[in-house]
Symmetry: C2
Subunit: 93 residues, 2 copies
DNA sequence: CTGCATTTGTGCGTATGTATG
DNA sequence: ACATACATACGCACAAATGCA
């Protein structure tokens, strides 16, 4: 896929641009519930940003309840049923 | 006030220790509503930590609604009246 | 169980931009 | 213009959790 990029001249900071980009992927269904998002490392390569920037983007999506993160594994798209109550969800894959 | 310090050997990360420390100050009334908290720079010197660490501690208190931050000014203890009517500038979708 | 690779968590140092006074 | 302070960003390092051979 084409390397996504951020506009450093835009008023929106890169980390928000990335968050909006990923959020759009989820909305669009490009990233379905239960599926993993790109790792922080991949995001840095994909968008050409620092890890801090990638982490901020993920933190934003986490705050919105769009994703959840597991240490040592990665971030996953929250399933609609989980958005109203934190916990683990093991719907089939 | 005595130079607070963090225990890098403790399971609780420094930024949480600092946040708990400051939260205790607020609870205790040592830091009254409307009063400013130590600046990030002061926190780094007071606890001997990096700026990011100090910022994380403040971010934690901010999330809990215990304090609010004003760009170019500093962080202040939230007044009880404000805690029930929070309205941060986070207009985003 | 042990070792390794991957991924996230945390910490430190620094630089630039913006806002306030 | 200057000092102070926060926001964002980059680089680096090590620790902890996870998964797998």
């Amino acid at each position: 896929m084409a390397a996504r990029e951020v506009d450093h001249r835009a008023p929106e900071p890169p980390y928000r641009q990335i968050a909006a980009d990923l959020a759009a992927d989820i909305e669009r269904g490009d990233l379905a519930p239960g599926r993993p998002l790109p790792s922080e490392k991949e995001l840095t390569e994909l968008y050409g940003v620092a890890r801090e920037t990638a982490r901020r983007a993920l933190a934003l999506l986490r705050e919105r309840g769009l994703i959840y993160t597991v240490t040592g594994r990665g971030s996953y798209v929250t399933e609609p049923a989980e958005q109203t109550g934190e916990g683990d969800g093991r719907a089939d894959a």
